[in-house]
């Protein structure tokens, strides 16, 4: 049996129930996330992605259904909900707007401090995590408000990572960054997942990003879970994804076009690197024949 860390069972959340403004943001979502995977959540604006992740750390409580962390209902003991938030670290969209301390050091230490860790432990974590996100010693005493946009974003993400959560959830971590900033943040998240071996969930609009870094993809459509599976599995439903108004990665489209034309591309590909390999292999085959 797979090792499940986070699971939702028939999770439903309705805003303003029994009024004219009633909206069901997520409906009957059941999904089991394996320990140590990097999951990409994709879906349209308003498909329920953000609502779903707010359930993961108990910021919201489902109208019905449960969220299980390590097999235990997170709402089993209401008073324990804060400790759930340390185990499932959620980093919201534009996290730089939550910075408030005088120095970068203090801001990153906010989470660990709330956990009640010792001074030495906090110090170790802050230094470790800041060097991990590529900010040198000299940043420690700077005001977070003096940094550039990309640096602020990294400080904010570091603030969540410093809690060393079992599950790290990031909502659109690349939103509003330039291409270099995006690449930095993405590789940072990938590295984090590899070095710590923790579970990472990342909400994104970009199919390319999801295809590039995720092990598994979760697709939300109109408040429901549409697909959950490996990248190949999910992107094999290209037609359905497109009918949901979601794009598929460019290289995936190229693959489908080549197949349509009857060209012998063997393996599915969805990143540029894979595409290069597959097409070159294809040419080689042609030469040999």
């Amino acid at each position: 049996m797979a090792d499940i860390i986070l699971e939702t069972k028939n999770l439903t959340y309705t805003y303003a129930p029994k009024t004219a403004g009633e909206v069901t943001a997520i409906r009957d979502v059941s999904v089991a996330i394996e320990r140590g995977t990097l999951v990409g959540i994709i879906g349209h604006t308003g498909s329920g992605k953000s609502t779903l992740i707010e359930h993961f750390n108990g910021l919201m409580r489902g109208t019905s259904g449960v969220v299980l962390l390590d097999g235990k209902d997170i709402w089993e003991n209401k008073k324990e909900i804060r400790s759930v938030r340390f185990r499932v670290g959620v980093c919201f969209q534009y996290p730089e707007y939550q910075l408030f301390e005088e120095t970068v050091y203090k801001d990153v230490a906010f989470g660990p401090k709330n956990m009640g860790l010792s001074e030495e432990e906090i110090d170790r974590r802050v230094r470790e995590v800041l060097s991990f996100v590529g900010l040198e010693e000299r940043y420690l005493e700077l005001s977070p408000f003096d940094l550039s946009g990309g640096e602020k974003r990294r400080v904010a993400i570091a603030g969540i990572m410093a809690m060393e959560p079992q599950v790290l959830v990031l909502d659109e971590p690349c939103a509003g960054l330039d291409p270099i900033g995006r690449a930095t943040v993405l590789s940072l998240i990938q590295n984090y997942q590899k070095t710590t071996g923790s579970t990472v969930i990342i909400v994104t609009h970009s199919m390319e990003d999801a295809a590039l870094i995720a092990d598994r993809i979760l697709v939300m459509n109109q408040a429901r879970l549409a697909f959950y599976g490996t990248v190949e599995e999910v992107f094999s439903h290209a037609g359905e994804l497109q009918s949901m108004g979601l794009d598929i990665p460019q290289m995936m489209r190229l693959y489908l076009l080549l197949r349509e034309k009857g060209l012998p591309v063997s393996k599915t590909f969805y990143t540029l690197e894979q595409a290069k390999k597959a097409i070159l292999a294809c040419f080689k085959k042609g030469e040999n024949a």
Binding site: E54, L59, R82, Y97, F100, F110, M163
Partner: protein
């Protein structure tokens, strides 16, 4: 939750009161307050009460909305009523016990005051229920425009008021977002002593102020990009024009004022 706070309190509708000119409504509200303080006996007060009741019925705003606006004032009404009952010693004595004496005069005054306050609250709620915040500030700007003679920047003040109203919902949303983000980092807003709770607000307030300043800068840039240069020579999208109904309501209020004066003069004075 925070989002339950109703802002501006506007209750949309198409009644005569909704359609009245906002300037007229403000002036009539002020007039109403003046008249109700002129009332000296129960007859004139009853006339004002009738006027309030008719206005409420005309507005089509449900009664429960008025009860809601009355609720926070209830302690004050009760407090003044109790004070009046115990302190005013007029008329026949009803009850005498130790230092407490209750008289008919005291009871009557207490009732009179309570009705007066209720009418006041109803009337001012009626103004906010039937007028959108934008119309209100617009009307205030126009009503205060004579102050330009004194070099007071009426337009700027009104614009600031409009913007403030416009950004209340935005800031509430912002507070919720920041609160959630800090909760995700383990911030605790619910427990601890008073000072601890105040301190716990810092992680929310600092980002809130930062973003409020950011928004203010962005907005002022956007406004200057669209050539906003203050009120000088600025025309309006919505012209306010007085209609027949505005005139009629002024007339009605004039009649009520006359009625109150007559009733005060010919019937006894209570206070």
């Amino acid at each position: 939750m925070i989002s339950d706070i109703t802002i501006g309190q506007y209750y949309s509708g198409t009644s005569v009161l909704h359609r009245l000119d906002a300037r007229v409504k403000i002036l009539l509200t002020v007039l109403f307050i003046v008249i109700i303080f002129l009332c000296k006996n129960f007859l004139s007060l009853a006339l004002m009460f009738a006027l309030t009741a008719v206005s409420i019925l005309l507005s089509g705003v449900p009664f429960r909305m008025f009860f809601k606006s009355l609720k926070p004032i209830l302690p004050i009404i009760l407090f003044t009523a109790v004070l009046n009952i115990f302190y005013i010693k007029k008329g026949t004595e009803l009850l005498s016990f130790w230092v407490i004496t209750i008289t008919t005069g005291g009871l009557a005054t207490a009732f009179f005051m309570a009705v007066r306050i209720i009418c006041l609250i109803m009337c001012s709620s009626l103004l906010t229920y039937t007028t959108t915040p934008t119309d209100l500030t617009d009307a205030i700007e126009r009503l205060l425009s004579p102050l330009k003679v004194l070099h007071i920047q009426v337009h700027t003040l009104a614009m600031m008021m409009t913007l403030a109203l416009r950004f209340i919902p935005t800031l509430i949303e912002e507070i919720e977002r920041i609160t959630n983000a800090q909760k995700a980092r383990g911030a605790d807003f619910e427990s601890g002593r008073f000072m601890q709770r105040v301190k716990a607000m810092i992680p929310v307030l600092v980002p809130l102020f930062v973003s409020a300043f950011r928004r203010a800068y962005e907005l002022s840039f956007a406004m200057s990009c669209r050539c906003y240069h203050g009120g000088e020579g600025r025309t309006r999208m919505k012209q306010m024009k007085l209609h027949l109904s505005d005139g009629v309501s002024f007339l009605l209020f004039a009649l009520v004022l006359a009625g109150v004066i007559v009733l005060n003069h010919f019937f006894g004075k209570l206070i």
